[in-house]
């Protein structure tokens, strides 16, 4: 095949794959919304995805809060602006670190678990068997997991930020000895519920869609072999992380650029 033919074939293949992925996402969205009709399934998945991620999210949030407080303190000392520590930590967490880091952790913990689970179900022909029993695996297996992921992600991001702020407070007031009044009051004055907290929640919802969608897609498309499943889980983490970071840039630019 000549180079041009090969290039053309490659482009067509890529287009087909892109179309396939888009159709899959469309199915996820459509069936995901309908999954509210099976709350028992969704609840079970929220437990598997959300509750089980709590430990890592909370501990990471605390750790990030500690470190952020220390670092920002040292950065602010030369300007004599250490009273703004609370405000800076809050904004960093609520606008950026909360949604993004929680999403990355989610991709690593819950995303890989979803990919492996779906991949193994596919390998064991469980999805095919379900189809033959006239039950659509998209609505029975994929959709509840998707909805659960989209619901859990914002909750986890919020908890990450909240715990981070508390951790920062412990370091700032407890360890360093800053004035607690300033720590909270500047925050309360300058952090806006809708613009900062609200946009952060919107971001994490978008990330939830991305991470859960990618995880389910990789699991669904994996080759039914051990290597296939292993490869798919690593791809979930890589693709989710890249997508989250890129979308973060886009969303930040949209939400936070001064008019």
């Amino acid at each position: 095949m000549s180079f041009v033919q090969a290039l053309g074939a490659g482009v067509l293949r890529w287009l087909a794959a892109f179309g396939h992925a888009s159709l899959f996402f469309k199915d996820l969205l459509v069936h995901g919304l309908q999954a509210v009709r099976r709350p028992d399934l969704v609840i079970h998945q929220i437990h598997a995805i959300g509750n089980r991620s709590l430990v890592i999210i909370l501990s990471s949030g605390l750790a990030v809060g500690f470190v952020l407080a220390l670092q920002m303190y040292y950065a602010l000392v030369p300007y004599g602006a250490t009273e703004s520590l609370g405000l800076i930590v809050n904004l960093s967490l609520v606008r950026e670190l909360g949604p993004v880091v929680a999403a990355l952790l989610f991709a690593g913990r819950a995303g890989t678990s979803l990919t492996a689970e779906i991949g193994l179900m596919k390998a064991g022909e469980q999805l095919s068997a379900m189809e033959m029993m006239a039950v659509d695996p998209r609505s029975r297996v994929l959709a509840p997991r998707f909805l659960a992921g989209v619901i859990s992600m914002p909750l986890l991001a919020v908890l990450f930020s909240a715990v981070g702020i508390l951790g920062a407070w412990a370091v700032a007031v407890g360890l360093i000895g800053l004035d607690p009044g300033n720590f909270w009051s500047l925050m309360q004055d300058r952090v806006d519920v809708w613009r900062d907290v609200g946009n952060g929640v919107v971001k994490s919802a978008v990330f939830g869609v991305i991470c859960t969608g990618v995880a389910l897609y990789q699991g669904h498309e994996t080759q039914a072999t051990p290597e296939g499943v292993a490869y798919a889980t690593t791809r979930t983490v890589v693709v989710s992380s890249l997508a989250v970071l890129s979308m973060d840039f886009v969303l930040t630019a949209l939400m936070f650029s001064t008019p």
Binding site: G50, V158, I165, Q188, V191, V193
Partner: protein
């Protein structure tokens, strides 16, 4: 494999925890608490130069926050910057009050400072604050300083 009941309880707790976190962030760590005081009356104030004033900057009188800046536009006729302020219902200012654009601290954000006048009638919704003082623009200050310096030098000769 946990029983169905304990799973449901677990998920319920998780969601509650998340909502509590959201509440904490909104109330304790942001300005939702002061959100309720959004009922206010809207007045405008034209400035020659609004400097670095931003929308949602506070409006303060004697240092106490009494409202927020809700909009900044350019008047196409007078080419002055028109700032829209929303002041708390509970705080009334006389019609001849003045508005200045001040800076919080040396390098801080800019805000509107209101100084009460002496008239008996109060500002109503839709009124215009006539007496305004623009922001201090650093470049103009430096230019002024140099001009004065040059003038002094010229006088001495």
């Amino acid at each position: 494999m946990m029983s169905k009941k304990s799973i449901e309880i677990g998920v319920g707790l998780f969601v509650l925890l998340g909502l509590a976190g959201l509440l904490f962030l909104s109330l304790k760590a942001a300005n939702l608490a002061s959100f309720g005081q959004r009922s206010g009356y809207v007045v405008t104030a034209p400035f020659d130069n609004i400097g670095g004033l931003k929308v949602r900057a506070p409006v303060r009188s004697a240092g106490v926050t009494v409202g927020r800046v809700t909009g900044i536009t350019l008047d196409p006729q007078t080419f002055r910057g028109v700032v829209t302020l929303e002041i708390n219902e509970s705080v009334k200012f006389p019609k001849d009050s003045s508005a200045k654009i001040l800076t919080a601290g040396l390098l801080g954000d800019q805000y509107i400072g209101l100084e009460p006048g002496a008239e008996e009638r109060n500002l109503q919704a839709g009124d215009v604050i006539a007496s305004t003082q623009s922001a201090v623009v650093l470049e103009n200050l430096i230019g002024q300083f140099l001009f004065n310096k040059a003038a002094d030098g010229g006088d001495k000769k």
